[in-house]
Symmetry: C2
Subunit: 114 residues, 2 copies
DNA sequence: CCAATATTCACCCATAAGGTTGAATATTGG
DNA sequence: CCAATATTCAACCTTATGGGTGAATATTGG
């Protein structure tokens, strides 16, 4: 349960392979080999992607003997979602204000014409 | 109004300088020079960050003579927010289910004891 | 026309990402 | 013990980031 900066979270999500890995983990824990299987890519490359996901704390590792079981940890998504929603909220309210202004102008025009 | 893949959007958001630039644009349009001012960094570096933001279609450029006015375009955030919320929804419902199962177990235990 | 202003372009540099292959390590099954 | 399995480690390559500098370009104000 550590920090994991927004930088790492966003960067981790910026790659389709890593997003696919996360999607795959919705079906439950998986080993490195399982995760690598669908990709036309060496096991090692997938292992590196997993490391990046771990750095972002989006993936947790549970070692049982020689097998490493990976699971998804959604916690870091909160901060990312919060940042994005803040911007979206600000700009949707700004658009609302613009719309409002246009409506008022319209009303003013109507009054004038009347 | 072009595509701008999730990759570019996420990558653009993965850097604190670029997030600060976006935050600054909430105050309205700004020139490259204005955006660069707060940073202990060359104008050129900021110009590059802006280019990355443009690639992600998060920033739009309006040229007036020698001045380039930049503005924020929130549209690409929709897809990013959607992806994140999908994962969050899935996992929060999964946690809910777990909680539910625990509660049911608890109830079962009570019944037994009774 | 000319100097100042606003930006980009063209390089240069260091580091990281994303991929490869081959060897090392750890653990299991027989 | 030994072979097979599951992973990582260590190099290496290519390309992209993130930063810098200096020159080129475009436009404006006198």
């Amino acid at each position: 349960m550590q920090a994991a900066r927004l930088d790492d979270t966003m960067l981790a999500l910026a790659d389709p392979t890593r997003r696919a890995i996360i999607a795959r983990l919705e079906a439950g824990e998986a080993r490195v080999t399982d995760l690598a299987a669908p990709f036309a890519m060496s096991l090692n490359s997938v292992s590196k992607h997993i490391k990046l996901l771990e750095r972002a704390d989006l993936v947790r590792r549970r070692k049982v003997g020689r097998e490493h079981f990976l699971s998804f940890n959604p916690a870091p998504l909160d901060a990312a979602a919060r940042w994005i929603e803040e911007k979206r909220a600000f700009w949707s309210s700004r658009l609302d204000a613009l719309e409002q202004a246009l409506l008022e102008d319209d009303a003013k025009q109507k009054r004038k014409r009347k």
